[in-house]
């Protein structure tokens, strides 16, 4: 699918503001365009598949609720990922306040799935062995080990293709601080993933 012009998302948001059936169609278009980047962003911060789905749904519903406040002066992706980051951080804080949830408890809406599903680099789920490699697991673990701002900045580069200025806006920091954050994050990743960077294969040293 060819990439729509940059202001297409702003046009969709304006249609959502107007409401009605046209607003619903515009909302569907926005969700279908951005669901993958938003899911990737949330899942890399909160590696719980069902929670990530619920949170992604909440992000788009929040987008609709706050449509009145949207101004096309900023890129739509900046607005969207600000919402995604805030909701994800709220969930992380909520979990920190209520750590007593049993990790073996069933999800209230789906008894076949545990309440918590964490990506374990050392034990791949059987249905993912064919698609995931140990290298991917190492990269994901390295990403998960970064402080929140560093990981968020890197994910915004990858998923949202945001500029430094836009990332600074989402993180609510200065441009220079954002560059430092990304620089430090990549330094850490290069160090942790050094065995792979040159050889193309994972070699434990």
């Amino acid at each position: 699918m060819p990439e729509p012009p940059p202001d297409a998302d702003a046009a969709l948001m304006l249609r959502i503001k107007c409401g009605g059936g046209d607003g619903a169609d515009a909302m569907r278009d926005l969700v279908e365009r951005w669901q993958q980047p938003v899911m990737n962003f949330i899942y890399r911060t909160l590696p719980d598949a069902i929670e990530a789905e619920d949170l992604a749904q909440a992000v788009f519903v929040q987008l609709w609720k706050t449509a009145e406040r949207y101004r096309p002066s900023a890129r739509f992706s900046t607005y969207l990922f600000t919402i995604a980051r805030n909701l994800t951080l709220n969930e992380v804080r909520r979990r920190a306040r209520h750590p007593a949830d049993s990790i073996d408890a069933s999800h209230p809406e789906d008894e076949d799935h545990p309440l918590r599903q964490f990506a374990d680099p050392g034990a791949l789920a059987a249905d993912k062995v064919a698609t995931r490699t140990e290298l991917h697991a190492k990269v994901e673990a390295a990403l998960a080990g970064l402080p929140e701002k560093q990981r968020t900045a890197l994910l915004l580069c990858r998923e949202g293709e945001l500029s430094y200025e836009e990332i600074a806006s989402v993180l609510d920091t200065s441009l220079q601080a954002t560059k430092s954050i990304i620089h430090r994050a990549r330094e850490v990743l290069r160090a942790r993933l050094k065995p792979y960077l040159r050889s193309g294969e994972w070699n434990d040293e």
Binding site: A24, M27, R28, V31, E32, Q35, Q36, M39, N40, I42, Y43, R44, A49, A52, E53, A56, Q57, F60, V61, W64, K65, T131, R132, L135, H136, V139, E140, L143, L154, C157, R158, E161, S163, Y164, K179, I182, H183, R186, L189, R190, L193, Y196, L197, R198
Partner: protein, 168 residues
């Protein structure tokens, strides 16, 4: 501005992952005489490659439908709430004149009480002042002899008499 090896922008551009293969090749050529920077470029490009290869999270096929369903639920709840408020307003409408009258009566009563209290305070103050200051009656103003006496200065000889009387 195109990233070149002559400016530090090349590192910023590479770190945000916006480097095409053509730009990468050109940077390699330009940095070939600077082994440390070339090595740094290769590390950064390799890291970009690793991050790019990460598999996407699984998106449920019905996410858009779920979002729209949730939005419709919100709208239905908001409409129900608004109808409830309107119904309550319609039912209580017959009491509105009585409620308004009561409010006006309370306001007027409060204002009237304030004025009465204010006047009472003023009257109390005048009473206190009038008791404290012994103002002579009008008849004193008609005793011209007494007034004349007030005007007369005392005689020097009176001082000797006063001194003698004061001595025990």
């Amino acid at each position: 501005m195109e990233p070149t090896s002559e400016n530090s922008d090349w590192l910023d551009q590479v770190q945000t992952g916006w480097v095409s293969s053509e730009v990468a090749s050109r940077l390699r050529r330009e940095l070939c005489q600077r082994p440390r920077e070339l090595s740094r470029l290769e590390d950064e490009l390799a890291l970009n490659g690793l991050l790019e290869q990460l598999p996407d999270a699984v998106v449920p096929s019905n996410l858009a439908s779920r979002v729209l369903d949730e939005i419709r639920r919100h709208e239905a709840n908001a409409e129900r709430s608004a109808r409830g408020t309107q119904r309550w307003f319609n039912v209580t409408r017959i009491f509105h004149p009585a409620i308004i009258t009561m409010l006006v009566a309370f306001a007027l009563g409060g204002w009237w009480q304030f004025r009465m209290r204010d006047r009472q305070n003023l009257a109390d103050s005048v009473t206190v002042v009038s008791r404290t200051v012994a103002v002579p009656g009008v008849e004193y103003l008609q005793d011209f002899d007494a007034i004349q006496l007030l005007r007369t200065p005392s005689q020097p000889g009176d001082l000797e008499l006063i001194a003698a009387l004061a001595t025990p």
